[in-house]
């Protein structure tokens, strides 16, 4: 309703309205996305602020209190060493979400960089898209498994077991998941490059670097943001799958996937220990996916226009 806006302009001098507000308006109409956002915010709060409120050390071993069911002292019960499950879930969530976020950022960075360069600079296109196709042809999960098995040691040596594995997993997920973003971004950039405002900028004499920063990047934000949400979901799932295969973080370092993996053997006796991390993973990924869906709709000009 662009003309509608124009009409309003005629009537009153309103303060500028950023386009993201329109996106938000549209986003709000997507109920699933809104609920997803709410749940994700709750989960984020729980894993960041939670440990301040529920201050039991997730690694504190209270052997006398092991294998307890939910109680006042331990709302979610304890594990086989008497460690508080709630505290562990919060600590694990922090790692899982941190992995998801950083891996997504890395993948986005790579994907956007490669996509923009390939789309904008014709000379680099062949090489970079060849690289993208190459990565797409590589069998990713096996490769991921390989990378984790192969490099966990050198890295955990250099950065310590936890940071090392963190880097490794983030890196492994990041470098195996940027290709879709790169393809989408390249496609967008190719289209944008033909948009007249890019020509306009060129006719002004804007150098390529500023052209990319000022005209290209802000306008590929929509697909990038959608990629980002999918990227987080994908990274969280991948991390927990790796942990489930016993290849993720070391056993003494809780992540949701790891907590679930460790509890699978005991799932008949203490089903809550499997269900809680399983639900935590699923809920996070679900809400992120819904947010992505909502964002996609909200950012789609065809839909927004209605």
């Amino acid at each position: 309703m662009t003309d509608l806006a124009a009409q309003k302009v005629d009537q009153a001098l309103k303060p500028p309205r950023n386009q993201w507000w329109d996106v938000w308006d549209q986003f709000k109409t997507h109920k699933g996305a809104l609920v997803g956002l709410f749940i994700l915010a709750a989960i984020l709060l729980a894993v960041t602020i939670g440990p301040w409120i529920w201050s039991i050390d997730p690694t504190y071993v209270d052997i006398r209190a092991r294998n307890q069911g939910p109680s006042g002292a331990h709302p979610f019960g304890t594990d086989q060493l008497g460690r508080d499950l709630l505290a562990r879930l919060m600590a694990g969530g922090k790692v899982s979400i941190a992995v998801g976020l950083t891996a997504m950022l890395l993948s986005l960075f790579l994907g956007t960089l490669i996509g923009v360069v390939a789309g904008f600079f014709k000379r680099a296109e062949g090489l970079l898209m060849g690289l993208t196709d190459l990565f797409l042809s590589l069998p990713l999960l096996p490769l991921l498994l390989l990378m984790v098995t192969l490099f966990r040691e050198p890295l955990s040596q250099r950065f310590g077991p936890e940071t090392g594995i963190f880097f490794l997993i983030v890196f492994a997920i990041g470098v195996t998941s940027w290709m879709q973003t790169a393809r989408i971004v390249r496609g967008e950039v190719l289209a944008l490059k033909e948009r007249e405002y890019v020509l306009a900028a060129r006719s002004i004499g804007t150098p390529s670097r500023r052209m990319v920063l000022r005209h290209i990047l802000p306008n590929v934000m929509s697909p990038i943001m959608v990629s980002a949400t999918l990227g987080i979901a994908n990274a969280i799932i991948t991390e927990s799958a790796l942990s489930f295969l016993g290849l993720g973080f070391p056993p003494d370092f809780p992540t949701w996937g790891r907590i679930l993996f460790d509890a699978v053997d005991q799932m008949q006796l203490y089903p809550i220990r499997v269900i809680l991390p399983g639900v935590a993973i699923s809920l996070t990924v679900l809400s992120v996916n819904y947010i992505g869906d909502g964002l996609r709709d909200a950012l789609d000009p065809r839909i927004r226009g209605r």
């Binding site: 690694t59 071993v61 052997i63 092991r66 294998n67 086989q80 060493l81 098995t149 966990r152 040691e153 040596q157 077991p161 070391p250 056993p251 003494d252 460790d262 699978v264 053997d265 005991q266 008949q268 006796l269």
Partner: protein, 567 residues
């Protein structure tokens, strides 16, 4: 034969109601599950337990061990001993006699040539035989006649029962493997996947890392056995799934090595479809104390070598205090349940070799504290960590990556912190930790940590080679490519002398005596090795499977010929 009959009796008394062994194959089909899948059926090309044990239903050695760790004859007529003249007085030869009339599953006769061939096969320099150690010290193996083989050793061997004994060194058929000597061994897929044997079963189909289908060996020496006509041996998955399949869903009859938390196992057993059985061997989970300084400040090549003694752990009081702070019973409960028992010994079995060393079994935190005070380690700055001469009592504690080990680490760290010891935990992927790559700083041999935890055991029932790992000249270091076996760099001339004496002693009681002494020197006298748990094994069989006797000295499937269906 006497021993065999006795054994049968034992098996019978163990099972509920032994059905008459009327006919071979009368009991139909049996399902076995190993959560590690066998990848090859030739034990000489793999020493993975899964491979050796699955092959033990097909291939047999001359003699094996029973559930008590005692030798009994399989293909041999008798176990040769000094007493029956099978072993020469000077301990340099042993003469084996095959049972007459033995047939391979293809119907040909078993002869001494097959025995000699098995020796040749495994000792071929290009063959890459993983059991080569069992044939060490052999000068020659020769046929006396068609059924008699004489093994000559290069030096007197008080324990001559290595070659051709136990499921790791079975007899393979010369006719089948003749073209597979040396480098060609790798190419003989048909033979490696379907060895012709003398055991109760023979292979009908082998899908590596997945499943073995077997049927009763028509030429098995006991015409009434085995009771089962066919076997499915499934591999893969995890211990929980295997346990579930036997104990809860009843899909399988036998599950191997259920490394599961005790309560989990108990929960599964409660379903009532099967029984958990357990037995103990020589596998001991222990903490090794580094007697040398692993400090990274030292020059490469001097780190963790005898050039520098450990600044903290050289003091026995500290080592003892660390041991005293540990509650081994609790470790067992958390990690192994019925498949473990607390121990203070490096050699916990066989019974006659086990020292009665129980002093460490009760946790004594106060005593440990006192001992540390005595050693001069006090918490002078009040931060909860003891120190001495400005040096903190802080240790790096490494082990391989494994859920139970990390639980142990967490528990022990907690106990040590109670006595004022700060512990940094580290875990290394098992393939690296045990990988033996001299280039990697994280192998257990390099021991770039203050203490490390792992488990080890010895083959068969004789601890001599095991105890002789702690000789001064077996300390790993840059000179021997870090390949020595004296992991904690223990060096005691007295110990070396005693090991030399053991090597000369043939008499079994005497040997036991010496072995116990050696064990004590390493454990309660010096605390260089802090034994934690004697790890036994849990397996499970369905309530309808009879004749199962768990054996930790040899293959678990050592007596599948006696298994039967309880009706």
């Amino acid at each position: 034969m006497k021993l065999r009959t006795a054994l049968l009796g034992a098996a019978a008394s163990f099972a509920l109601a032994p059905a008459a062994f009327a006919e071979r194959g009368a009991d139909g089909h049996v399902n076995i599950i190993y959560w590690q899948a066998p990848s090859i059926l030739n034990p000489y090309l793999s020493s993975g337990t899964k491979d050796v044990e699955s092959a033990s239903m097909i291939l047999e050695p001359l003699a094996g061990f029973d559930e008590k760790g005692e030798l009994f004859a399989r293909l041999a007529e008798d176990v040769p001993t000094l007493a029956n003249g099978g072993v020469s007085e000077d301990l340099t030869t042993i003469t084996w006699k095959l049972k007459p009339g033995l047939l391979w599953s293809d119907g040909s006769a078993v002869t001494s040539a097959d025995v000699i061939f098995s020796y040749e096969y495994c000792t071929h320099p290009e063959g890459g035989c993983s059991q080569a150690a069992r044939y060490e010290g052999i000068d020659k193996v020769e046929a006396v006649d068609d059924l008699t083989v004489k093994v000559t050793f290069t030096a007197p061997k008080p324990n001559p029962y290595n070659a051709f004994v136990g499921s790791t060194s079975p007899i393979i058929q010369k006719a089948q493997f003749a073209d597979c000597l040396g480098a060609a061994a790798q190419q003989c897929t048909d033979a490696n996947f379907g060895p012709i044997g003398t055991g109760p079963f023979r292979v009908t189909e082998f899908k590596p890392n997945d499943v073995i289908s077997m049927e009763a060996n028509p030429n098995y020496r006991d015409p009434a056995k085995p009771a089962f006509a066919t076997v499915t041996f499934k591999g893969g998955g995890d211990a929980a799934a295997a346990g579930r399949a036997v104990l809860e869903t009843g899909e399988f009859d036998y599950a191997w090595n259920l490394q599961l938390a005790p309560d989990v196992l108990a929960g599964m057993a409660a379903a009532g479809k099967g029984t958990v059985i357990n037995a103990f061997g020589t596998l001991v989970e222990r903490i090794e104390m580094n007697m040398t300084d692993p400090s990274p400040d030292l020059a490469e090549g001097e780190r963790s070598t005898v050039k520098h003694a450990h600044p903290i752990l050289s003091d026995m009081k500290v080592r003892k205090a660390l041991s005293m702070a540990i509650d081994r019973e609790l470790l067992v409960e958390v990690g192994y349940g019925s498949a473990g028992r607390a121990t203070c010994n490096l050699v916990p079995a066989p019974e006659m070799f086990a020292s009665d060393n129980t002093e460490c079994l009760t946790q004594d935190v106060e005593g440990a504290k006192a001992l540390l005070d005595e050693a001069g380690w006090t918490d002078s700055d009040g931060d909860g960590v003891r120190d001495k001469d400005g040096k903190k009592l802080a240790l790096l504690y490494q082990t391989s990556t494994n859920a139970v080990r990390q639980d142990f680490q967490a528990l022990i760290k907690q106990w040590w912190s109670e006595i004022g010891v700060e512990t940094e935990l580290k875990n290394v992927d098992a393939s690296v930790f045990f990988g033996g790559d001299p280039g990697s700083p994280d192998t257990f041999q390099k021991f770039y940590a203050d203490v490390e935890m792992y488990a080890n055991n010895f083959d068969g029932t004789d601890p001599e080679p095991y105890l002789s790992q702690y000789l001064c000249d077996k300390i790993p270091g840059p000179d021997n490519g870090w390949q020595g076996e004296n992991i904690n760099r223990y060096c005691n001339p007295e110990y070396d002398a005693l090991v030399a004496e053991l090597a000369k002693t043939g008499e079994i009681e005497k040997r036991a005596e010496i072995a116990k002494k050696l064990n004590d020197m390493l454990t309660k006298d010096s605390y260089t090795i802090v034994a934690l748990v004697d790890r036994g094994r849990n397996s499970a069989h369905s309530n309808t499977l009879g004749g199962v006797v768990l054996n930790t000295w040899d293959s678990e499937l050592w007596n599948t010929s006696d298994w039967f269906r309880v009706k």
